[in-house]
């Protein structure tokens, strides 16, 4: 009987060993392990050439962020051929989940060297796990990038993130529908949102097309509007909810209601419906981030029918014709290999003007690196948009985006506002809508 049990145990061991065998190789390939070995072996702080020869980067979207990384990787290999760069692709939500678990558990094992984080979320990571991120103040200068990126990427005067893509917004419009309604592109250069609704009514009347399509579960439009007036859901400290008494927010709510009440807005439920609405010609305009360009130009039959106007502005505060929606930045984690990772970032996204031209022409990335805007590729005319120099327009607007502190609770507050927005659309009074939301936010965020 004892023999039998022994046999069973051996079988068990073999099974586990077999299953892990093939992976222990790839496991040790992971920089975390390799770097940890060298790190603990040598004397810790002073060994400067103990740089890891291998770094790992997490990002999402193969057509955009990953593609940009591949370009940077090739650029870096020209001068540093001995550094191996592993690019690992995950969905954005997966990255958040993995980062949260990894950072929360306090083990640096398995964390990447560089990670891409959306600007709206970056402060929550930086403030909660400040020591887990590497201060890049000595490698790059925050002032080399668009001013509005300083808010999300820095903390306590230290630069933690390398600003990446611009989420600069514009008003994409169908010029053919506009003309049928009696307007020209020139009429849209300096309008406010009320005028925008007015144009929408004319378009609806003449063409039967909706002016805009809205997702009730995504208040991106509100975010764009309030940032154009230099305000946010939170006060400048990034912690105190700023809802009741926020004049631009109030106006943004009123415009949102105006859009639905005047019957010029369609509704979509997810991204695919959103893109389908643009491609099928059901809507006459879309105010959104520049990253929508590839989705619009995908419908080649509409070439020449689109143009991009500056974003309409609010009447409250000193609202400008420029805002931001989305966009993300790179962060170097404070794990072994951080010097190599910082060097990689500084030599590519932190300084390489030529590379940004390539990113733009090959992938369509509009960066936030100021010096890159003077490059040749940025001045190209785009035939799809009727020969408009869209990128140089976007680059000019990027510089005007007001900087706000996205704080650590953007999405938590948005969840509250989504519900309150429905109450508002159903007839609740605007001031009580905002003060109720303020009370909820205050009790929820401590």
């Amino acid at each position: 009987m004892k023999k039998g049990i022994a046999l069973l145990l051996i079988c068990l061991l073999m099974l586990t060993a077999c299953s892990s065998n093939s992976n222990s190789n790839s496991g040790s390939k992971n920089t975390g392990n390799a770097a940890a070995d060298t790190g603990t072996a040598g004397n810790p702080a002073t060994t400067e050439p103990a740089q890891a020869k291998e770094i790992t980067i997490w990002a999402w979207d193969p057509a955009f962020n990953i593609a940009a990384l591949e370009v940077a990787k090739a650029e870096y290999a020209k001068t540093n051929p001995d550094v191996k760069i592993n690019i690992v692709e995950y969905a954005q939500n997966d990255i958040i989940q993995k980062l949260n678990t990894g950072l929360n558990s306090g083990t640096t094992k398995g964390l990447p060297n560089i990670v891409l984080i959306e600007d709206y979320r970056s402060q929550s990571f930086l403030q909660s796990y400040k020591d887990s991120f590497y201060d890049l103040s000595s490698s790059i200068k925050g002032s080399d990038f668009a001013d509005y990126k300083a808010g999300p990427t820095s903390l306590d005067g230290k630069q933690y993130g390398i600003p990446f893509d611009s989420g600069v917004t514009g008003l994409y419009v169908r010029t053919d529908y506009l003309e049928q309604a009696g307007y020209k592109l020139a009429d849209l250069q300096d309008i406010d949102w009320n005028k925008y609704i007015e144009i929408g009514k004319a378009v609806k009347e003449k063409t039967g097309k909706a002016l805009i399509t809205l997702d009730p579960n995504d208040l991106g439009l509100i975010r764009m509007m309030i940032q154009s007036a230099g305000e946010w859901y939170l006060k400048e400290d990034g912690k105190t909810p700023n809802i009741a008494g926020n004049a631009p927010l109030k106006e943004a709510f009123e415009i949102y209601k105006g859009l639905t009440d005047s019957n010029v807005a369609n509704v979509h439920a997810d991204w695919s419906q959103f893109v389908a609405a643009l491609n099928s010609g059901d809507v006459a305009s879309v105010p959104t981030g520049n990253w929508i360009t590839p989705s619009i130009t995908a419908e080649a039959s509409q070439s020449g029918k689109w143009a991009i106007a500056p974003l309409p502005k609010l009447t409250a505060n000193e609202s400008v014709h420029a805002s931001n929606l989305g966009g993300s930045s790179w962060y170097v984690m404070n794990v072994d290999g951080k010097e190599t990772a910082a060097d990689f970032m500084a030599k590519t996204f932190g300084s390489n003007v030529e590379m940004y031209q390539k990113l733009l022409t090959d992938i369509g990335v509009i960066g936030t690196f100021k010096a890159a805007a003077g490059g040749e590729a940025y001045g190209q005319a785009n035939e799809f948009f009727g020969g408009q120099k869209v990128v140089s327009d976007f680059a000019a607007w990027t510089e005007q985006i007001p900087s706000v502190n996205y704080g650590i609770n953007t999405y938590a507050i948005e969840d509250i506002l989504i519900v309150e927005m429905q109450n508002y659309l159903n007839g609740k009074d605007i001031d009580s809508v905002l003060s109720d939301a303020q009370a909820q936010a205050e009790s929820q965020i401590k």
């Binding site: 009987m1 039998g4 049990i5 069973l8 068990l12 099974l15 586990t16 060993a17 299953s19 892990s20 065998n21 093939s22 992976n23 222990s24 790839s26 496991g27 040790s28 390939k29 992971n30 975390g32 392990n33 790992t56 999402w60 979207d61 193969p62 057509a63 955009f64 592993n86 690992v88 692709e89 995950y90 969905a91 954005q92 997966d94 989940q97 993995k98 678990t101 990894g102 929360n104 558990s105 306090g106 083990t107 094992k109 398995g110 991204w271 695919s272 419906q273 893109v275 389908a276 491609n279 099928s280 990253w291 590839p294 989705s295 995908a298």
Partner: protein
């Protein structure tokens, strides 16, 4: 009267069948369409099946992920069946005063959601990595070990063992078989249907396991099928046709396992020994 009753029964069942089959139909049909057609809600089969498949092969390492998933699921299933059946058998057959206490504690562990275990578990494997890198973070062992047996499966085997005729045990002992011999030669062959049902349940949950592999696996070389599918939807402009064919391929193994063992599964759920 009886006729109209039957009519409504069939009507209700038909509606229920359509509701449960439609997502599958949608998945299969969409895998043959272009991304644009999928978003437009096209319900007719298209001609882009091969294009989508080719794109999937070009953009991902499908084969590797399938092999990874298969390795993990098969190993987990085999080990889980072995451990859970031994435990279930032991709990029911042997006498011990404390066994019910132990069993109740085991059942209580079913109530703790995985989300609460995740961070301590990750920390634990982080520590293990320092000593045994071959079973730490980013290895298949780290995916298999936490799911290698579940309280549910032990419970399932114990319940089934209740119907196992004890006379067979006595006969085995009388004839001089060792306890392990009884388990292997008498219990195991008699309980085939229970094993089949257990295998299906374990294989499915292991194949579809998402959260823990997502967190503990780090390199593209270890990606499993659910992780691969999740990554496909990560773009700002996802290719729905390609995603759908990946999901179809990811569904085939579980469907296959189920259809092969369907008969035994039903028998096992009802009760194995006749």
């Amino acid at each position: 009267m009886a006729k109209s009753k039957r009519f409504f029964m069939y009507l209700f069942l038909s509606i229920a069948a359509i509701v449960s089959i439609f997502p599958f139909l949608w998945m299969v049909v969409s895998s043959t369409n272009k991304s644009v057609d999928v978003t437009r809600g096209r319900l007719l089969p298209g001609t882009h099946l091969l294009d989508n498949f080719q794109k999937l092969l070009d953009t991902t390492d499908l084969q590797l992920s399938l092999i990874n998933s298969a390795k993990i699921s098969i190993t987990t299933t085999l080990l889980a069946l072995l451990i859970a059946s031994l435990a279930g058998y032991g709990f029911e057959v042997f006498r011990s005063r404390s066994k019910d206490i132990v069993f109740n504690i085991l059942l209580l562990s079913m109530m703790i959601p995985f989300a609460a275990l995740m961070i301590p578990l990750y920390r634990m494997f982080g520590k293990i990595s320092n000593v045994f890198p071959w079973m730490g973070i980013d290895t298949m062992t780290s995916v298999i070990l936490p799911t290698v047996t579940t309280a549910f499966l032990i419970f399932f085997f114990r319940q089934s063992t209740k119907m196992f005729p004890k006379e067979l045990l006595e006969a085995g002992r009388m004839d001089g078989l060792s306890e392990l011999g009884i388990f292997l030669r008498i219990y195991l062959p008699t309980m085939k249907t229970t094993y089949a049902a257990g295998a299906i349940i374990t294989f499915m949950s292991s194949w579809n396991n998402y959260l823990w592999p997502l967190i503990v696996l780090q390199t593209p070389q270890t990606k499993t099928m659910p992780l691969l599918i999740s990554t496909l939807g990560s773009g700002y402009a996802p290719d729905y046709g390609m995603i759908m064919i990946a999901i179809v391929i990811g569904t085939i193994p579980t469907a296959l396992v189920f259809f092969v063992m369907q008969k035994q599964f039903v028998a096992g759920m009802i009760g194995s020994v006749k």
